[in-house]
């Protein structure tokens, strides 16, 4: 057997995941183990629901493990093991705090995360490298964090760092805050973004005029086709009935009017205030690549700045919007 130090991160993590999953399934500690397996397109993975110890070899790990698997937990019956990255684990903390998931029903297999690939960024890079409308036929990543892609008559190498999902570049918790098992080594996690830099883009955006900010969000939301992939990919959007699905009365019109789409997106964003951990799942799920993170991260920062509340950091926390303090100055209320 190879010594731990001689193996590089992704393959060692995958091996660890398989061993942990095997153990959990064999002992009956979990009925299902949710991880990632090879997807059907180059550099895509897909969620894997493994129920037999013999199938653990399907499990993989790498920078293409983009989905937040905590999304499957709220309605899950039975005992489940799940692979969670740093941000994913924080969403699970929120689900536990909000009593949507029972801690004793979940075995958390944490992975020190190196960041995940933004498919759109990568596709744009590969299209530029390939030229002439050629398409990448195969792609893989090296243990050193480099993507190798090839198609007919071209090869391209792209450092993972240059095509990371934007939420990864401002990540403050690449190592899960809570876990039962850790696959891999904490030292393999991405460097933590210093807290004082994590909201630089939000500050820069707030420096722009109100009109300009409104135009920015309008342009993002204009592309919305109302498929609700953002909502469905979000672990925190677990309402039995979403407000936009209400029929009596209707909250959102039948038009694809921008104002109706705004109501949905802004309403959803506000519903995640003090809860969103910026895992980026909504942005990655959106077929139009809509990015409202400037808004959600502004709220995240407000929670931190005004209330000292960091979402998803503490299993014992009382949710921010469920607390009341007599000494709250309320000086923002008229």
């Amino acid at each position: 057997m190879l010594a731990r130090e001689s193996l590089r991160p992704t393959s060692q993590v995958a091996e660890d995941l398989r061993e942990i999953a095997r153990g959990l399934l064999e002992t009956g500690d979990v009925d299902v183990f949710i991880g990632y397996e090879e997807g059907s397109l180059p550099l895509r993975t897909t969620p894997a629901f493994v129920t037999r110890a013999d199938d653990v070899s399907r499990l993989v790990w790498g920078h293409a493990c983009e989905n937040n698997l905590a999304v499957y937990l709220p309605k899950f019956e039975g005992k489940v093991g799940v692979v969670l990255k740093g941000c994913d684990a924080r969403t699970l903390v929120n689900l536990i705090v909000e009593k949507q998931v029972r801690r004793d029903r979940v075995k958390i297999v944490g992975v020190p995360c190196g960041g995940v690939i933004d498919r759109r960024k990568l596709a744009a890079r590969l299209a530029a490298a390939a030229g002439g409308g050629r398409t990448a036929r195969a792609a893989s990543e090296t243990e050193d964090g480099v993507i190798l892609a090839r198609g007919d008559g071209f090869e391209a190498t792209v450092p993972v760092e240059e095509v990371l999902s934007p939420s990864c570049t401002t990540c403050t918790h690449p190592v899960p805050v809570v876990y039962d098992f850790l696959a891999g080594d904490e030292r393999w996690a991405r460097q933590v973004c210093p807290k004082e830099q994590a909201y630089d883009d939000v500050d820069a955006f707030m420096g722009r005029g109100a009109d300009e900010r409104f135009t920015h969000f309008s342009k993002e939301i204009e592309r919305c086709i109302e498929c609700f992939a953002c909502r469905q990919a979000c672990p925190l959007c677990y309402c039995p009935e979403c407000f936009v699905d209400r029929e009596t009365p209707r909250w959102v019109g039948r038009w694809r009017d921008l104002s109706d789409r705004m109501v949905f997106h802004l309403g959803r964003a506000l519903h995640t205030a003090g809860r969103c951990v910026d895992c980026g799942a909504c942005r990655r799920a959106c077929p139009a690549g809509i990015d409202l993170r400037l808004l959600t991260r502004r709220m995240e920062r407000d929670a931190l700045e005004f209330f000292g509340y960091e979402s998803g950091a503490d299993l014992e926390a009382v949710p921010l919007l469920a607390t009341y303090r007599r000494d709250d100055p309320d000086d923002f209320i008229l």
Partner: protein
């Protein structure tokens, strides 16, 4: 036509028709109206892998449309021009809209939608009118994408079904051939056209063979799956294949053949409009009864509906699967739930 004359061709079409081309709007490619080649971002055949993200169906069956307006006094006004009524194909003089840069899969998708909206027993005047007024200039695919499987559902990278003109890459030149009177009308009067030489035709044949060979590697056992699905409604496999589905509508809304819709009124005190908009079988509201009962209560039933409708019910009703293998659902599924894999599961029963 020499490649550098393509812009002139765009202008030729734009001069006499309302012209739609796939434009990139913030990463979301959709068919948009343009006035001249200046706004079409170098659209050309070299761009063959860029299947527009949004499907062609939107030009005929938009995501939302007003069917008519009404007022409290009993007046009803139809806002859409439905004067072009059923009866024959597009006449050269009747063409007022052209979609340029259509993919063969999308062109074929309209012939599937025709089975629903332009059927013998029911004709949707809104859809039919737009269909009659629109001609399609299709770009043959010389480099199919990784999610493409058109040849497994009866199409192909050079399939002509539904197109009025097909345009292919012939090396130094674009080779175009009309397939209908409307198509001939579009090419008429464009001065830069000349008879294709053997060299260009050979280049097109080679490109076609290469594209078809490429797709042979993406073969999906659709026929076999179709033959099994009829008896598969209660199979336990559904428990497994739907499991990672998030229940969003990215697959159905971006599908060129999905056609379910909802109709409702947007009314004020004095009047209102009757609106039709897309609906999706992936949503819990889709079949929710007024009583509160939902015959498709969970994602499993909803996912099964999508697969069964496309590959079983539609085949039984119309003799073809409601799928053209464009791969949009594969590319855009947030969790990479690949319809090809689902079909493989049922084909293997």
């Amino acid at each position: 036509m020499r490649k550098r004359d393509f812009g002139a061709f765009v202008n030729h079409l734009a001069a006499s028709c309302e012209l739609f081309v796939p434009l990139d709007v913030g990463g979301m490619t959709l068919f948009s109206a343009i006035d001249s080649s200046d706004t079409c971002n170098g659209l050309g055949l070299e761009n063959t892998t860029a299947l527009p993200k949004r499907p062609l169906k939107e030009l005929f069956f938009p995501q939302e449309e007003v069917l008519f307006a009404f007022d409290a006094g009993g007046g009803i006004e139809t806002t859409e021009d439905t004067s072009a009524q059923p009866g024959g194909g597009v006449s050269p003089s009747g063409v007022v809209r052209v979609a340029l840069g259509v993919r063969p899969c999308d062109a074929r998708s309209l012939t599937i939608l025709d089975l629903v909206f332009d059927a013998a027993d029911y004709k949707d005047p809104y859809y039919v009118s737009r269909r009659r007024r629109t001609a399609l200039v299709t770009f043959a695919c010389s480099e199919p994408g990784m999610a493409c499987f058109c040849t497994s559902v009866g199409g192909g990278p050079f399939d002509e079904t539904g197109s009025d003109v097909v345009c292919a890459d012939g090396g130094e030149e674009y080779v175009m051939w009309p397939l209908s009177a409307a198509g001939e009308g579009l090419l008429e009067g464009f001065a830069a056209l000349r008879e294709a030489g053997e060299e260009e035709l050979e280049a097109v044949r080679k490109a076609r063979a290469a594209a078809e060979a490429r797709l042979a590697g993406n073969s999906v056992p659709v026929e076999k799956a179709v033959s099994k699905l009829g008896g598969a409604f209660d199979r336990p496999e559904w428990d497994d294949v739907h499991r990672k589905c998030l229940g969003c509508a990215a697959c159905t809304y971006l599908c060129p053949t999905c056609h379910c819709f909802d109709i409702g009124d947007e009314a004020t005190r004095t009047g209102g409009e009757r609106v039709r908009n897309w609906d999706s079988c992936m949503f819990p509201l889709f079949t929710l009864h007024a009583s509160g009962h939902n015959p498709r209560p969970s994602r499993k039933e909803r996912f099964r509906q999508r697969i069964m409708h496309k590959f079983n019910y539609f085949v039984e009703n119309h003799g073809t699967a409601a799928c053209v293998g464009c791969g949009r659902c594969v590319e855009n599924c947030p969790v990479n739930l690949d319809v090809r894999k689902v079909l493989e599961v049922f084909a293997a029963l």
